[in-house]
Amino acid sequence: MDLSSINPILLVAALMSAATPILLAATGELVAERAGVLNLGVEGMMIIGAICGFAIAVETGSPTVGFIAAAIGGALLSLLFAFLTQVTLANQVASGLALTLFGLGLSALLGQGYVGIKPPRMPDINFGPLADIPVVGPILFSHDPILYFGIVLVACVWAVLKFTRLGLVLRAVGENHEAAHALGYKVVRIRTLAIMFGGACAGMGGAYISLIRVPQWTEGMTAGVGWIALALVVFASWKPWRVLLGAYLFGGITQLQLNLQGAGVAIPVEYLAMSPYVITIIVLVILSADKSAAPGSLGRTFHASS
């Protein structure tokens, strides 16, 4: 065992990267849930994003186009969920599960020709001399653009929810859809857009795994990150900045256990690999005492006549 091989600066830099897929997916899901929609299909939308982004990036040679394609792919898949829950008024839990099962199958089908290929690399942003500052440089100024995009996205979502009319309407729909409907807001339309936003974010999160984190394509490669993102929204009490905090916490755990595996700690690899899931459960237990922050209409089906 050689713990000194773990460099704390590199660990912090790496945990930001490990946290980004969870962060993107959880931010998208947060918006959907604030609009009152519980979409359990995050895992499915992420894996579809992972393969769409990967395939398009390989075909076009541009990771940026790949990320855009991933967002479109995730949003398209989420439209299926929106159709089921908003138009045909199906149960949201069942529809979300269906989306995940379908997404996992579809991604495996789409990804057949892409196993074992290396995708084009997305270059890190060049901050010039800033990157040479000791400690701060490697941690803050040595990352790819999507990582910064994730942080900006959290800030935008926070600002929109808190300060704009759009955010207020979205929250009204999520808190009490009957009241929002009575005020003349289009509940179904707003929810559909929120679901699509969630899908696009989850898709980009998936593409971050397949294009930057790993970077290659394997079946089922998201391995539960989508579910951790769902847990994270509960953990964050539906507040954007806490999503950022939570994502870094989980990213840190993931990265730390990987580093411990690398350092050859006496704990078997399998038990280290379980740790992010176990810790998610423990955190859920600690935080689930307070349910007051949950949007009032979360998970409830809306039909204008009832």
Partner: protein
């Protein structure tokens, strides 16, 4: 102008017709999918759904229907208990793995002793393993109000890692020349879940599935507990007023479904799979969710749905070898089925109305 109007009572006719409509729609869109993959759609559908039952080699495939169907039905029956009450156990895959590990562990502990008691002991251990694993989300939900969906699902990943650690470590075959995986239980008569009638596919898991179906049927139709489950699902507030203890119901539903999933895992690992390997589980725990919904959470429906899903597995294998249809296509096909089912279910509770909407 088309709009939906809520029916005063859910339509019985559509409740029964929905699964059939969903299957037909899946045939159609699945056919389109196969065509998009460059396969003849009609031939693909025939290969998947006709050949295993009535084709040239049907005598070989028909027993497979029971072998693949039994774990699906067993797990889905358990899931249906919770789903009816709005308790979502979606970690059956993990409970299935833990049941298999507990059961196989007990069996392997006795190796090479021979006794007729070993297999029953394994069955008990398997049931216990699945139940204990499901008790984690159950107790956390009752004690702390933790979301059982997320916890039970997280535990699938934990169970998968545990399985890897067991099949590479404690349960590894000492005479296996270093290959991962346990001793083969098929070669250990006392622990082998052999076919009761040779060549029929009828093993103890099938018997257990039949018993579970009968129990679930009686529970829902005749027992007070079944009534409590149904009321809780349809009107939670009314259930509380009528004296249903929600905590006890959560423990019962998750415990029972975990037990059945654990049993399914044990019967699989001691019979058709034979040994504990890293990937002996093939996702029955997740497919069973589709089975439960397709069977309308009704015991008899689940049997039919389980057989249909088993058919897609068997036919999918045939289509894979004969038509080079990718295995993932079958997975998409199964996912599609659930989609159409959920979508068509609209007509059970709502009716279509044509004409102008008047201003209320």
């Amino acid at each position: 102008m088309i709009r939906f109007e809520k029916r005063p009572q859910p339509s019985k006719a559509f409740a029964y017709a929905t699964p059939l409509l969903a299957v037909l729609a899946t045939f159609f869109f699945g056919g389109l999918l196969f065509a998009a993959l460059g396969k003849d759609p009609v031939q693909s559908i025939v290969t998947i759904f006709w050949q295993p039952l009535f084709g040239e080699f049907a005598f070989f495939y028909r027993p497979q229907l029971l072998i693949k169907g039994a774990p699906l039905v067993l797990i889905a029956i358990g899931l249906s208990l919770g789903f009816r009450a709005g308790i979502w156990n979606i970690g059956a895959e993990g409970q299935y793995i833990m049941g298999a590990l507990f059961g196989a562990g007990v069996g392997l502990a006795f190796y090479p002793a021979e006794s007729f008691l070993i297999f029953p002991l394994m069955v008990v251990a398997g049931a216990l393993g699945g139940m204990l694993w499901a008790m984690i989300p159950a107790l956390l939900k009752v004690k702390f109000g933790t979301n059982e969906i997320l916890v039970s699902l997280m535990l699938v990943y934990v169970a998968e890692q545990f399985l890897a650690s067991m099949s590479l470590g404690l349960l590894k075959n000492p005479e296996g020349f270093g290959f991962p995986g346990s001793r083969n239980l098929q070669q250990y008569p006392s622990a082998h879940n052999a076919e009761i009638i040779a060549g029929s596919g009828m093993h103890w898991g099938v018997v257990a599935a039949m018993i579970a179906v009968i129990f679930a049927y009686v529970l829902f139709a005749r027992h007070k507990l079944g009534f409590a489950i149904r009321v809780t699902g349809e009107a939670p507030r009314a259930a509380r007023f009528s004296g249903v203890n929600p905590g006890r119901l959560v423990v019962f539903c998750l415990g029972a479904s975990g037990m059945l999933a654990g049993l399914a895992g044990l019967f699989e690992v001691s019979g058709p799979a034979g040994q504990v390997t890293i990937d002996f589980n093939v996702g029955y725990g997740f497919t069973a969710i589709i089975v439960a919904f397709l069977g309308r959470l009704n015991p008899i429906g689940i049997v039919l749905a389980g057989l249909l899903m088993a058919l897609t597995y068997i036919g999918g294998d045939i289509a894979q070898s004969q038509l080079q249809l990718p295995a993932a296509a079958i997975q998409v096909f199964q996912g599609m089925l659930l989609f159409f089912l959920l979508a068509f279910d609209l007509f059970t509770n709502y009716r279509l109305r044509f004409g102008r909407t008047e201003v209320a």
